[in-house]
Symmetry: C2
Subunit: 171 residues, 2 copies
């Protein structure tokens, strides 16, 4: 299974593609950060972001897209831009008929490190180990995007196994 | 000048097209509400919204789009959906090279009623009078979209007049 993880943002949007199955080593396909010009208007920046995400989908042809769930509770001034960027990410994927899953930051932290309150450094370290990289992907948004993709493969795999077990038990 | 006003939302997105110039009676071109199925996932709903907004742009060919500015300060659970919907509205317009303006709710209320704290009923009443309608457009989201378009025409017109006056004074 090939998954594109997206850590949405207007200034920096992390994107990472991971391939693999539960119980087997996962493989990094590509990772990067989409930046949009801070001097431009939000609508223009969203158009940049849309084109860049479309290019990633076109190039890597993932089977699913995992997007970080944005919450309103943070009073940070960037939260609206992040929410708008996440809307663009979702629409780009859904338009192509791809399944889109939203994972919360604590789900992702728990999945890759076993601790829902892990810090950025811990997440980066675990992503590095899981994908057998030489160094943690920089910036943190890139590592977060990979962590999202890893979470999606693992959680999806676990769900499939449970469903298979239930089906077997039902027979 | 023809302006499409958009009051973004996932459950109800108000859309209203107004035509006219400052100092002359404005004309209602079309008004409506885009609804997306509550039972569907957010990515699917955003795709519905995108298609519907694109259809409005295609049919009415506005010269500018005015979108209500969304703020994070409200703790309402719908604010993220509203922000995502506003992102879609902006991207649909910007992709076509149309200028997009964001107006705050109090700017809109002040422009149409003279009172930045006017309630929904007052805004509906003023929209009805300004566009010489028989009754206030329903639901409130539809009236709000028209109020946004009216605000945009009036504010833009005022700005142009000031610029012209300054230019004349400079000569």
């Amino acid at each position: 299974m090939r998954v594109l993880g997206i850590d949405p943002g207007l200034t920096r949007c992390g994107v990472g593609v991971v391939e693999g199955e539960v119980g087997r080593p996962l493989r990094l396909v590509d990772v990067g950060v989409i930046r949009t010009p801070t001097g431009e208007s939000t609508p223009q920046r969203l158009v940049h972001l849309e084109r860049a995400i479309d290019a990633w989908l076109e190039e890597h042809r993932p089977q699913a897209v995992a997007v970080e769930q944005v919450f309103a509770r943070s009073a940070v001034s960037t939260v609206m831009g992040t929410a708008q960027a996440s809307g663009i990410a979702m629409v780009c994927a859904a338009r192509r008929g791809l399944p889109v899953a939203l994972h919360t930051p604590s789900e992702v932290k728990a999945a890759v490190s076993g601790n829902g309150r892990a810090d950025k450094a811990q997440v980066g370290l675990m992503v590095t180990r899981i994908l057998r990289l030489d160094a943690a992907p920089k910036p943190a948004d890139a590592a977060d995007a990979l962590a999202l993709a890893i979470t999606h493969i693992w959680r999806g795999g676990a769900r499939r196994r449970i469903e298979e077990a239930l089906e077997k038990a039902g027979r």
